[in-house]
């Protein structure tokens, strides 16, 4: 049976921003639809409206000509609309089966039969009786999908499903999605990754700043044309010039280990690598494989053995972040809002977090506000932060501008080494380009970078050497020309 989903003149206004501006779209089963847009384009708002999480200010939704009233996620479920969110909604300590029946009012046995049938049909293999916390991200996602399939949905919405998956898991997911589509489930796939749209989808709707920009068939599009629609301008492609390989070693890590008392952290085992001047070492991996711990060990938030880190011929393993900064290291953590910056504090106060001695932010224990402000103004103009008010609380900066501020703050001391962790996570294409250009510039000035990232494309674009971290262990270090994203994917999944 054919499914037809129609969104008609949907508008949702938030204070200071129109998230969805009079959007009308029509979907038919048998096809896979992509909803493409940058962060903040309004695609999440739109699918949240479809799944009953958000109620639109105006507009209607029709499923097979029936006007749906979606006042809660339950309404969406009742109307056969299933949704898999970007962040999993699973109870970690409950078993897979318990998670699956939690919103079901049927008999346990009959649900179990149903689940077994679904798993057999789509070739899923998940142990139903182990706690969810023992599952990989890919398996957790399968649990979420099964939870939708139990209700035999007419529409399945996937919100950025590949952000936590490996290359292999992604292709498995795509196969399943195609199968669902063949069976008549209408699939709406939300993403900002262009490659996936080209690979998977039949039709694509592009959103920008709350407006629907275009609806077109994939066969009439290519990556560049979609990117331009998404961003609204012609993007220049960034290409890194191959750095002259220097043999001048800047940092060397020897036999570094870290054992955590926290069961949710990853232990680091026998890490060895070195980075030369002017080089960018990329560290790939699926999130949660020890990247955060590695970053903290390198930044000094976690102290290690003195001799395990040698920087510029000094042993610095036992120094604090502040002391390491004096040796010309700089750090840009993953979490912009909870670690790298304090949203409730003003821009210039956030700049003062990088307290480098010669910057004279604090004299004799007193705050030197003029100096900090002067410095902040320089960062804002040098790094294109889109504001001129340094008294603004940084929570009012967009992610991209905040990241520029952070990178600017770290670079203004002209460090020899910048260690960054997912520097473009969640940013729009314009900001990503800017950050990438900046990182390339650093290398050109013969400064070094350690780039820990879960974005394989980014790593391949920026790194001179690449290694993969899996369960706290580093793979051997490879030259980036020898590496393909498939090869990285295999290593990220733990195979040799």
């Amino acid at each position: 049976m054919n499914t037809n989903l129609k969104i008609s003149n949907v508008t949702k206004i938030y204070p200071g921003c129109v998230a969805n501006d009079n959007i009308s779209l029509e979907f038919n089963s048998g096809k896979i639809y992509a909803l493409l847009g940058e962060n903040g384009a309004g695609k999440s708002t739109l699918v949240k409206i479809l799944s009953g999480v958000i109620i639109p200010d105006e507009g209607k939704i029709y499923l097979n000509e029936n006007n749906l009233k979606l006042n809660s996620p339950l309404d969406a479920k009742k109307n056969d609309i299933g949704m898999v969110f970007q962040h999993f909604n699973l109870f970690e300590t409950l078993s897979v089966f318990e998670n699956l029946i939690i919103d079901s009012d049927e008999q346990r046995e009959s649900v179990r039969e149903k689940i077994d049938a679904i798993m057999k049909k789509y070739n899923f293999s998940v142990d139903l009786d182990i706690p969810v916390l023992n599952l990989s991200a890919g398996q957790k996602q399968k649990v979420e999908i099964i939870r939708c399939l139990i209700r035999s949905p007419k529409v399945l919405i996937m919100d950025e499903p590949t952000s936590v998956l490996t290359e292999q898991e992604t292709s498995e997911l795509f196969l399943s999605l195609k199968k669902f589509s063949d069976e008549g489930i209408l699939i709406i796939y939300i993403t900002h990754k262009l490659k996936e749209v080209m690979q998977l989808c039949d039709e694509v709707a592009v959103m920008r700043r709350g407006k629907l920009v275009s609806v077109s068939e994939i066969k009439n599009e290519n990556i560049e044309s979609l990117a331009n629609k998404m961003v609204g301008q012609n993007l220049k492609t960034i290409k890194k010039k191959k750095a002259k390989t220097s043999s001048d070693q800047l940092i060397k890590i020897t036999n570094l280990n870290f054992t955590s008392e926290d069961p949710f952290e990853t232990n680091l085992m026998d890490i060895n690598f070195s980075v030369n001047r002017g080089e960018c070492l990329g560290i790939a991996g699926i999130s949660g494989n020890g990247q955060s711990e590695l970053f903290q060990v390198l930044s000094g938030e976690i102290i290690s053995e003195k001799n395990s880190i040698e920087f510029n011929n000094n042993y610095i393993g036992d120094l604090s972040p502040q002391e390491r900064r004096e040796y010309l290291m700089a750090f840009s953590p993953e979490d912009r809002l909870e670690q790298a910056a304090i949203p409730q504090m003003k821009i210039f106060e956030n700049v003062a977090l990088n307290n480098f001695k010669s910057s004279n932010f604090f004299n004799n224990g007193l705050i030197n506000e003029n100096k900090i402000k002067e410095h902040s103004k320089k960062i804002i103009s040098d790094f294109n932060v889109n504001t001129d008010n340094i008294e603004l609380k940084s929570q009012f900066l967009s992610g991209g501008n905040l990241q520029k501020l952070i990178i600017g703050r770290e670079l203004i001391t002209s460090p020899d080494l910048l260690i960054c962790f997912n520097p473009t996570w969640g940013l729009d294409v314009g900001a990503i380009n800017y950050i990438h250009e900046t990182l390339i510039k650093i290398n050109e000035q013969n400064k070094s970078i350690i780039l820990i990232s879960t974005d394989t494309d980014e790593l391949l674009k920026l790194s001179d050497k690449i290694s993969v971290i899996h369960k706290g262990k580093l793979s051997k270090i490879m030259n980036s020309e020898e590496v393909t994203s498939e090869k990285l994917g295999i290593l990220m999944g733990g195979a040799n």
Partner: protein, 354 residues
């Protein structure tokens, strides 16, 4: 139709307006309560809020009550601004009073300029020691400081009880639960003949100035602020977050201890059972009413001090139970928390639609 809209940005004007609104609402609700109890609301409010401070003596009493509230609230503001929920200031006050009282008793019938500073210092140290217990337990053993600091209040009160009826009780005191009178050199000097206001008020004013300076002008204050917002950021910036936690507790304990010193070395001049009418708890209200800002705390301590005086006056002149004072304190906090809603939301009055 009324529509509630989320604010894009908490408004600064509203930030200072809500405490005033809370006080107005408290007065209205208070009047209503008096009316229900069968009193004339305006007259009762007059006895509560105007009569007590209408003369010189009343004003001195107001400052006398406001002094410990202000001191403690200043200390607490350090804790609260950095998300450390020290609610045991009453215990730190009591313990500070015990230590300083003990030192004062050591100098029984002795005179000397060095005695008073020693007694004051002892009080601050006593408060710090007592505050260090929840601080250390929190930082090194992950205990909840709310629970620990609160329970320690009762411990300190029992210690005080034991001392004043037991080993420290006045041998010539006919078994009254109190110690000997401190010597004059161990007492804070009174400021005016015939009034009870004493030099402790200068301690409070000094605390206001110093706290403002430390929090807004020094690197130490900046580190406390950052640590309070996010320990993760503090760690990343290279600050010693745990030390900051202990430090704010010590500051808070010292202030409460000093308030304790003021209570026993002021007009009373001895240790006894009831040294504080829950100043340590009421100061929590003062700290929030004053928006954790030094200047705000001065005004808030004056406002809340009136409720102590008003309750007594109203009892004397109108036979209104003096516990209404606590009702008023509770109402202020209640309305303050409620009107904080306006910080994040605004109420729009719009015409009927269609």
């Amino acid at each position: 139709m009324i529509k509630i809209v989320k604010r894009d940005q908490p408004s600064r004007a509203i930030f200072f307006f809500t405490p005033v609104l809370a006080i107005i609402l408290t007065l209205v609700a208070g009047g209503l309560i008096f009316f229900i109890l069968g009193f004339k609301p305006f007259e009762a409010l007059k006895f509560f809020f105007i009569v007590p401070i209408a003369d010189k003596y009343g004003f001195s009493e107001l400052l006398l009550k406001a002094t410990p509230l202000c001191l403690i609230a200043i200390g607490l503001s350090f804790c609260f601004k950095s998300n450390n929920w020290n609610i045991g200031a009453e215990g730190q006050l009591t313990f500070g009073a015990i230590v300083s009282g003990g030192v004062a008793l050591l100098f029984y019938e002795q005179e000397g300029f060095y005695i008073l500073p020693t007694v004051i210092l002892a009080g601050a140290i006593g408060g710090m020691l007592y505050a260090s217990i929840p601080a250390i337990l929190k930082t090194y053993f992950n205990t909840n400081e709310i629970l620990v600091s609160l329970m320690l209040v009762y411990v300190s009160k029992l210690i005080l009880d034991y001392l004043v009826v037991g080993p420290w009780s006045n041998p010539e005191g006919f078994n009254f639960p109190e110690t000997r009178q401190f010597s004059d050199s161990a007492k804070l000097p009174l400021l005016f003949e015939g009034l009870r206001i004493h030099a402790g008020i200068f301690l409070a004013l000094a605390a206001v100035v110093i706290s403002w300076f430390v929090f807004y002008k020094t690197y130490l204050g900046f580190q406390m602020k950052v640590s309070g917002f996010s320990l993760k950021t503090a760690k990343y910036a290279g600050y010693k977050g745990k030390k900051m936690i202990i430090l704010v507790f010590l500051i808070s304990g010292a202030c409460a201890g000093l308030a304790g010193v003021g209570e026993i070395t002021g007009p009373i001049g001895q240790l006894h059972r009831e040294i504080s009418p829950d100043y340590g708890f009421t100061a929590i209200i003062v700290a929030f009413l004053g928006r954790l800002h030094p200047v705000g705390i001065i005004f808030a301590s004056l406002v809340v001090a009136i409720t102590y005086l008003g309750a007594e006056t109203a009892q004397i002149f109108m036979q209104i139970p003096k516990y209404t004072g606590q009702v008023f304190q509770g109402m202020i906090l209640f309305f303050l928390l409620a009107s904080d809603y306006l910080l994040f939301f605004k109420i729009k009055f719009i015409g009927l639609k269609k």
